[in-house]
Symmetry: D2
Subunit: 141 residues, 4 copies
């Protein structure tokens, strides 16, 4: 399976704006982290919802790569987010994904998002990815 | 109630990266539009999921402003997105929101997202915003 | 494609407790109706949430049958419900499903639920069904 | 806070069909269990989706009672379920709820559902309840 570095290298190439780092990947999970600056804030001096959604979506993508290899064409089919608490403006966001199922065609996981240094999650996500039947587009490792 | 221009002026001030335009607002709904460039794409030459989520979240925010005025502290509490079809890379995305309920403390709406010029939606969202009890933070018009 | 009566006959056989009737099916949609009695109520003199969830799930199942035939092994993979207003205790519930996508392996639709005679929906559902690749178990018409 | 027996007594009175037992309640969580018979099955010899939805909704209701007392008018506002594996027909279903947030007006929790005796969940739910501002309708303990 791909290393953290290999997945980061793929993501940096695949996305024009890739602002996160992978803290950990493997064991049916992944943790990603993103510094928060002005561009990620919204009224109220808090992190914007779309920033949290994007991080959760990324954490799922990385966790799936950790299980089946780098499959760029894995795509989100459903994502459900609940916002629980107001994130602080001056801490990074950490997204911790645990996969609940990795099937042949679908993978489902949950993601808890935190303001770094705080144990109470700011948001919770459940998301489903569709895995292409044929991993021919898979980057060989 | 605020005009399209007043809401756009607020959004341009409130967000560092505000890349959308408001096509219409009012009658318990809103339509927003965003040009798609390299920064919004993902592997497969299609629009990234987080771009669609961000636009749906924005369409809900704008539609609510059209009903209760510009209330910056309205915040998303839940958002559920289903991806239906692959958006094309070379068309703008248009998000059409219809509110289903505007209560005292919660507003709920659905958003259909389209590749401009195509009648079949690429994604569908249902989202809930929490409206602060006290609109003191409301910008006066 | 199967008629309303054929689908009702299948459902009455397949489920021990089948308490609904099919009002309409076809054109990528379905409408189902259920009388409300003591067994469907919850504290507050209103229809219980699970009653509404079950009806939405059924409306999706019937709508899919209307498109691809009676495929008993079509199964729900995701269902998201938002409760909008309190249903009245003394009216039937009517669930109106519109399919948004009927693909080879997934079908996605939305369902609006009403207290019969009232135009404002009491709940809104988006649900996804997985369609078995091979409709061998499909009942021939 | 109410005991398991007090909550069961309330539920048996409040619902005509109350087919579950409370295994545990407290510590921001609850576990409920239901025997599976013919009435809970669907085509394929598996437990019906609405049975799982109803149990998840109940587990949330009970878990909230364990935190704030028996508040009958707590009502679901959103529920999202993902089906992960096919439940077996001949085992009870066990639903384990953990609350993620218990605020003044909203409580949010997740529920993992199992075929009794199997460690892999058959379904996963995230749900939100609205808590009435004024617990006057709360049953005194």
């Amino acid at each position: 399976m791909p290393t953290k570095g290999e997945i980061e290298a793929f993501l940096a190439t695949a996305f024009t704006r890739f602002d996160s780092t992978i803290v950990a990947v493997g064991n049916r999970g992944a943790t990603v982290r993103r510094e928060i600056g002005e561009a990620e804030l919204r009224p109220g001096g808090t992190v914007s919802g779309p920033t949290l959604m994007a991080m959760a979506d990324l954490a799922l993508y990385v966790a799936i790569f950790g299980e089946i290899g780098i499959v760029p064409m894995a795509v989100t089919t459903n994502l459900n987010i609940n916002f629980l608490r107001k994130p602080v403006a001056n801490a990074a966001i950490v997204a911790v994904c645990k996969l609940m199922k990795v099937g042949k065609s679908l993978a489902i996981g949950e993601v808890s998002l935190y303001s770094e240094g705080d144990d109470d999650p700011v948001a919770h996500v459940v998301g489903t990815y569709s895995i292409p039947r044929n991993h021919q587009e898979k980057i060989k490792e």
